[in-house]
């Protein structure tokens, strides 16, 4: 990752629209994410937040608009292309490989760095062995970062939800992404777990200089964690700015914070 101040933003979303069978999910959305910032997407359910993440790593194809990632323009992303360019992703309802151990899940996340051929793997030739050893080391390193070492050999489907969420972020981090997309990383966690994951996210941002776009409903944590907040409502951008500005924005309070989260806004 370049250490110098790069004038280019890490990610730009330009006039992106998406609809499902005629129902608009995202309408003409434009915003940008600076390098090394944590950008939070907030908004009520159905506001198009997850759909936007799915566009960013190629699961959905937008109807119009474009994505600019590190200066390159994309009409659409392809999932493999997104992964190769370093866009990592955590899903809303854990999308782990339930029949595999925690360690194997994390190593699977390293696929884009794999160079050994099938024949080399079948005969355990030097390149395959070396790659396997490096992948294991890297995976253990990441598991340590998330305090998951003791679960390395455990089948991931048998772990509690909160631990699975951590495994999922670990899997995304293993491949050393340049941009990390997290869909409700704190959902379904208790207060202590939320603090822990929030601290890990903050560390990934400061220590690994990782640009992070996350969706989160816990406004208290969002306002503390994020450098930049984008508020969506019915697929449109309602507000865009630093957390302090968002907190005081009358439109946001009316549309989003006002009803359900009045106590936080007040």
């Amino acid at each position: 990752m370049p250490m110098r101040e790069d004038p280019l933003p890490a990610l730009e979303v330009r006039n992106v629209s998406l609809s499902f069978k005629g129902v608009k999910a995202i309408s003409d959305l434009t915003f940008q994410v600076e390098r090394q910032e944590i950008c939070a997407l907030i908004g009520p359910n159905g506001a198009g937040k997850s759909s936007l993440l799915n566009i960013l790593n190629g699961v959905y194809v937008p109807d119009s608009g474009e994505i600019v990632f590190e200066g390159e323009h994309f009409r659409r992303m392809h999932p493999l292309e997104a992964a190769r360019r370093g866009i990592g992703r955590g899903f809303q309802n854990n999308a782990l490989f339930s029949g595999m151990s925690v360690l194997d899940n994390v190593i699977a996340g390293l696929s884009r760095h794999s160079r050994a051929t099938l024949v080399e793997e079948a005969f355990r030739l030097p390149r395959a062995r070396g790659e396997e050893r490096r992948f294991r080391e890297r995976a253990h390193e990441v598991l340590r970062l998330f305090d998951l070492e003791r679960h390395a050999a455990t089948l991931v489907g048998t772990l509690p939800y909160g631990v699975q969420k951590k495994v999922e972020i670990a899997r995304a981090i293993a491949a050393e992404p340049r941009l990390l997309l997290l869909d409700e990383p704190l959902a379904g966690m208790n207060a202590a777990e939320k603090q822990e994951i929030a601290a890990v996210i903050a560390r990934l941002n400061t220590e690994l200089k990782l640009t992070i776009v996350l969706i989160e409903h816990d406004i208290g944590i969002v306002l503390k964690l994020a450098h930049h907040v984008v508020v969506l409502d019915y697929g449109r951008k309602l507000a865009d700015g630093p957390p302090e500005a968002i907190r005081d924005d009358p439109d946001v309070i009316a549309a989003y914070l006002g009803s359900e989260h009045a106590e936080i806004a007040a």
């Binding site: 595999m100 699977a108 696929s111 793997e121 390395a152």
Partner: protein
């Protein structure tokens, strides 16, 4: 980490010595088997059991590991058998082991071609596509006499029999060691493969394909690799079935029934395990014997043979249904050979539940 490592890590160190002794004893027993068992057992039970295990292993890589359901196992075995026949007939200088490898590659290429639809469709629709392979090759190998060298009975057999670089293998022991050697080698290679990144890619696709794509698993390549490797192994198994077990074969030897049999082997044995293929093959090889024995002693031969065969099929069918409902992980799990709290394998894993 593979299940083997998991189990090894959980075990006390002193049991490893015991394991080595047990392994050595098992290996000695396997090597000495021809001298311990009767010719009938070797020819009619042990050799076909080994070949069915190999075929099960091949299909398990595709269906159990990569999650792609196939009813074309018989077709890919057929391609391997007919390719071996053609090579032995038309390229007489090519030694049998190399002919088997080339035949495996031919079957692998055919498998890859029939795997292409898997990059766009899955589940039931993919079954139809693999079923097409089954019917296509049954037709192809009957339609053109070139494939069976114009033989009046439309069967294939090796005129020079089996040999291994000059060593004559045309006796029960020879067939046994040839089969054992090939099965052992391919099992080891498969074992390496499923523990490597390719194996992890396959399992990732099986467990959740959208997530696999998003984290950078090359879905299309990995699926096609699974089809190719699976068909390579099935092709060699088919050649062994034709020439080391049957002696002479026809398209009927690899009909749809064979495809079902191989699929049942891995369902019964355990999807997504190497040993599952062996357990399932042992089960389908021994069940008819056990039923024969049972009916002979219980009804002292008063049930006629035709009825007996139908009863066998019915019992087999009931067992399949029972396995699908009660124990999707098969014998492997029942015998406690799988980790206790394993994730459930299912033929139709749920797709990504993410909006």
């Amino acid at each position: 980490m593979s299940e083997i490592d998991v189990r090894a890590a959980a075990e006390p160190l002193d049991s490893i010595g015991l394991k080595a002794v047990a392994g050595a004893a098992a290996a000695a027993l396997v090597l000495a088997a021809p001298f311990l068992a009767s010719e009938y057992w070797i020819n009619a039970i042990i050799v076909p059991f080994l070949i069915l295990s190999l075929a099960g292993l091949g299909l398990n890589l595709l269906t159990g590991y990569a999650g792609q359901i196939s009813l074309g196992a018989g077709a890919f075995m057929m391609v391997g058998a007919y390719a071996t026949f053609s090579l032995q007939l038309r390229v007489p200088d090519l030694p049998l082991p190399l002919a088997l490898v080339v035949a495996g590659i031919v079957a692998g290429a055919v498998g890859l071609a029939f795997g292409i639809p898997s990059t766009r469709i899955k589940g039931f629709y993919l079954i139809v596509s693999t079923l097409a392979a089954q019917f296509f090759f049954e037709w192809l190998f009957l339609k053109f006499p070139w494939f069976y060298n114009g033989n009046s009975s439309a069967t294939i057999s090796l005129s020079r029999g089996l040999s291994f670089f000059g060593l004559d293998l045309n006796h029960p022991h020879g067939r046994y060691y040839l089969t054992l050697g090939i099965v052992t080698l391919l099992t080891l290679l498969s074992f390496n493969l499923v523990r490597s990144q390719t194996g992890r890619n396959w399992m990732a696709i099986r467990d959740m394909d959208t997530a696999a794509a998003v984290i950078g698993v090359p879905i299309v390549r990995a699926k096609l690799q699974a089809f190719a490797v699976s068909s390579f192994i099935l092709g060699i198994a088919g050649a062994l079935w034709a020439f080391a077990y049957l002696g002479s074969a026809s398209v009927q030897s690899f009909g749809l029934t064979r495809s079902y049999q191989i699929l049942f082997i891995i369902i019964i044995g355990g999807l997504g395990t190497i040993r599952g293929a062996y357990l399932g093959a042992a089960f389908v090889s021994l069940l008819p014997l056990a039923l024969d024995w049972l009916f002979q002693y219980v009804f002292s031969g008063r049930v006629d043979a035709g009825l007996l065969q139908n009863i066998q099929k019915a019992i087999f069918g009931i067992l399949i249904v029972w396995f699908l409902i009660k124990e999707p992980e098969g014998l492997s799990r029942l015998l406690g050979l799988r980790r206790a709290n394993g994730g459930r394998r299912s033929l139709f894993p749920s797709s990504l539940k993410e909006n």
